[in-house]
């Protein structure tokens, strides 16, 4: 009798418990997610993670965040030690450090039922695809554009330069109308390298770095011109000399006094980072986006169009499904999109842009930048090795020698042609 009761109880209870389990949710999962950022980003992402947990009660996400300094070192040890978080923020050029064969991170192409890859342009996805595997998703796409201090230009009674010629002509005008201490543009060495690169790429229509052959897509004459452009910028008073810049101390561009008070009136800046430059200007001054200068024969704008940062899933994660769900939430869900807003530039996800547009949140410099990029010839995809630490230092060192008068333009051009390919030979491993 008692056995009959218990069997009946059992048969009745089984479906009930299954249903209950489904209602309560699956087994609890704990995810780890890492990122770098400033206070604003930490706050926004932490709030987003709490919302994700509310949506999926069985998943808990632990945020492991730091500032920018040291993040790569930390991630490198974690990846080498196989203790990396499930979901991590990865800089675009780190993909070649950790996943040359595309196996360093999860192939998101296999998780399409969890992540909506359709929200991203093929172009954007291509920048995150290693050896045919989608290793990461871009948070936002960015490019270097010309931003000027509109207030200073107004004081000089000049319009923002619309071409290379007008940019070069603005230098002497600034000196004549405002004084020796005023410059239409300020470049730190990496900015200067990027600008000279744009000059070369506009004519060649090829990425500067030929990753396959580990050399530069530039002739000796091109590289001579590369050095000459920098020299001309300084000679025609477009940018301050390296000596003058150094006299203000080794501080970030946006924290330099001449930038704050408007004497250095321009920057060649990432669209995702221009906010910091606008923030520090003293009261009453405005940053404005200028038309992008193109050479008459330009085949491409030479924009350095790339992801500002990406999110990738650990190749060894025990929870690929949940991680992918979180990734999708961060990039495509209204809660996450509205919490982050334009803090990291205009999102790369079409859905996210739609959500922000609907609320009238896409405006100002971010909108203008996106429209400008869309209107420019933009086909060249630079190799991530362009931003490899050693390659970057190689370029910077040569321009620095030139800037301090240790070598002349001809020598700088020659060294670019010899030193950089030598560095590429060592850095690009196949």
């Amino acid at each position: 009798m008692s056995s009959r009761v218990s069997r009946r109880w059992f048969l009745g209870a089984l479906p009930a418990t299954v249903l209950a389990r489904r209602a309560i949710g699956q087994a609890p999962v704990e995810l780890r997610m890492s990122w770098w950022g400033g206070n604003d980003v930490h706050g926004a992402l932490l709030a987003t993670l709490r919302k994700f947990e509310a949506r999926y009660p069985h998943i808990r996400v632990k945020g492991e965040y730091t500032g920018w300094v040291g993040h790569l070192e930390r991630l490198t040890t974690q990846i080498a030690g196989r203790t990396a978080p499930d979901l991590m923020q990865v800089n675009w050029n780190w993909l070649v450090l950790f996943s040359r064969d595309g196996r360093g991170f999860q192939d998101l192409g296999t998780l399409t039922d969890r992540v909506d890859l359709g929200q991203f342009d093929d172009d954007a996805l291509a920048t995150c695809t290693m050896a045919g595997r989608v290793n990461a998703l871009p948070v936002a796409m960015t490019a270097r554009l010309f931003y000027f201090n509109a207030s200073t230009f107004a004081r000089a009674r000049l319009t923002l330069p619309r071409s290379w010629d007008e940019l070069f002509a603005a230098g002497p005008e600034f000196r004549r109308r405002l004084g020796d201490g005023f410059f239409p543009l300020d470049l730190i060495f990496p900015d200067a390298v990027a600008l000279c690169r744009a000059w070369i790429v506009q004519r060649s229509g090829l990425p500067l770095i030929d990753e396959r052959n580990r050399r530069l897509n530039a002739s000796a004459a091109d590289l001579h011109e590369f050095a000459e452009v920098y020299h001309r910028l300084v000679q025609s008073h477009v940018i301050p000399t390296a000596r003058e810049r150094a006299s203000y101390g080794n501080v970030q561009q946006q924290e330099m006094r001449p930038w704050i008070d408007g004497r250095y009136a321009g920057t060649y800046m990432w669209t995702s980072a221009v906010g910091k430059s606008a923030d520090t200007l003293s009261a009453g001054q405005q940053v404005a986006l200028a038309p992008y200068p193109l050479r008459p024969e330009a085949k491409d704008a030479g924009l350095l169009y790339r992801p500002a940062m990406t999110f990738a899933i650990n190749a060894r994660t025990a929870h690929p499904d949940e991680s992918a769900r979180l990734l999708d939430f961060l990039l495509n869900d209204p809660d996450a999109v509205l919490a982050m807003g334009l803090r990291r530039g205009l999102p790369a996800s079409r859905k996210a842009v739609g959500i922000l547009r609907e609320r009238g949140l896409v405006r100002g410099l971010a909108l203008e930048a996106a429209e400008q990029i869309a209107a420019l010839p933009n086909c060249v995809r630079e190799s991530p090795y362009y931003e490899h630490a050693r390659v970057r230092d190689g370029f910077n060192d040569i321009l620095e020698l030139l800037a301090y008068g240790r070598i002349d333009v001809a020598e700088a051009g020659r060294r670019l042609g010899e030193d950089i390919p030598a560095i590429l030979e060592r850095s690009i491993r196949t």
């Binding site: 780890r32 890492s34 770098w36 950022g37 400033g38 206070n39 604003d40 980003v41 930490h42 706050g43 932490l46 632990k62 945020g63 492991e64 965040y65 730091t66 500032g67 920018w68 300094v69 040291g70 070192e73 930390r74 040890t77 974690q78 080498a80 030690g81 196989r82 203790t83 978080p85 946006q254 924290e255 330099m256 006094r257 704050i260 008070d261 990432w270 995702s272 980072a273 906010g275 910091k276 923030d279 520090t280 003293s282 500002a308 803090r343 990291r344």
Partner: protein
């Protein structure tokens, strides 16, 4: 003659001292400035003094207040200083007072570790601590100190001990002390200034250590102050320097306090062995 020169000398010294201290004083002044004022004025005194840097900085942009991070710092510093002092004294005593075969080679090896760049050991040590299951705890940060791994301190103590005449220790042995008692009752009081220098150096270096916690501690709730101070510095966002300066000021207080308390011994210890007495 010297009476007339003394004021001039003091004037020069005070002037030079002021120049050296200026960055520190500026940090203090900056902590009370609004963020926008920091880049625009080089002056010490804030034009619009505010406590915002302290209140917002203390709250931090994270889930935890700065108190958590300061407490974490001490949870690392205190065991590390104690372990370093005990292990370094024992090892230095061994090297100077006992004739063990191969001790010269071992000492050379110890000095070699001082010259070894720390970054070389980073990944192997990380893997080792991972196997121990010590990641995301404070153990990797202080347990190695229990084995006199800071060769520099052992070297410093060895130099000091070499200048101490062994006669007193011999007398203590005659009176029936074993070698450990000799160390505690006779040697330690003599080398106390050097021991305090070791403790102070380790205290300051550990307070400021960034890379160790960065690598081994992954949970934000375990971050020490050195890591927390850089949490808000990003490349794409403008930084609230007044908060960072305010919290740096607070994080500096323990070091300054300890230094002043131990100053007398510290100066004696740091110059020890320079003139053999």
């Amino acid at each position: 003659m010297s009476g007339t020169r003394a004021p001039l000398r003091y004037l020069i010294l005070i002037g030079a001292g002021f120049v050296m201290l200026y960055p520190l004083l500026w940090m203090l002044g900056g902590a009370f400035k609004p963020n926008a004022e920091i880049f625009q004025s080089i002056g010490l005194f804030p034009a619009h003094p505010t406590l915002e840097g302290f209140t917002r900085g203390w709250r931090t942009g994270t889930e935890f207040s700065f108190a958590t991070y300061l407490a974490n710092t001490f949870r690392i510093v205190i065991p590390k200083v104690i372990l370093t002092v005990v292990s370094s004294v024992l090892v230095a005593y061994g090297f100077t007072r006992f004739n063990v075969r191969g001790s010269r080679v071992l000492f050379a090896l110890l000095i070699a570790t001082v010259l070894l760049p720390k970054s070389v050991l980073l990944i192997p040590q990380y893997l080792m601590f991972r196997e121990f299951g010590w990641l995301d705890t404070f153990l990797p940060l202080y347990v190695p100190s229990a084995f006199a791994t800071d060769g520099f301190f052992v070297f410093m103590l060895v130099q000091f001990l070499r200048s101490v005449p062994p006669e007193m220790e011999e007398a203590a042995v005659m009176d029936g002390c074993n070698s450990f008692q000799v160390l505690v009752h006779v040697v330690l009081p003599v080398i106390l200034p050097a021991v305090i220098s070791v403790a102070l150096f380790q205290f300051m270096w550990t307070m400021n250590d960034f890379l160790g916690p960065l690598i081994y501690v992954s949970s934000v709730e375990h971050y020490p102050a050195a890591l927390a101070l850089k949490l808000s510095i990003d490349v794409t966002e403008s930084t609230a320097w007044n908060e960072i300066l305010a919290m740096s000021t607070i994080a500096l207080l323990p070091s300054v306090l300890v230094f002043f308390l131990a100053q007398k011994y510290f100066v004696e210890g740091a110059t020890a062995g320079s003139v053999k007495g």
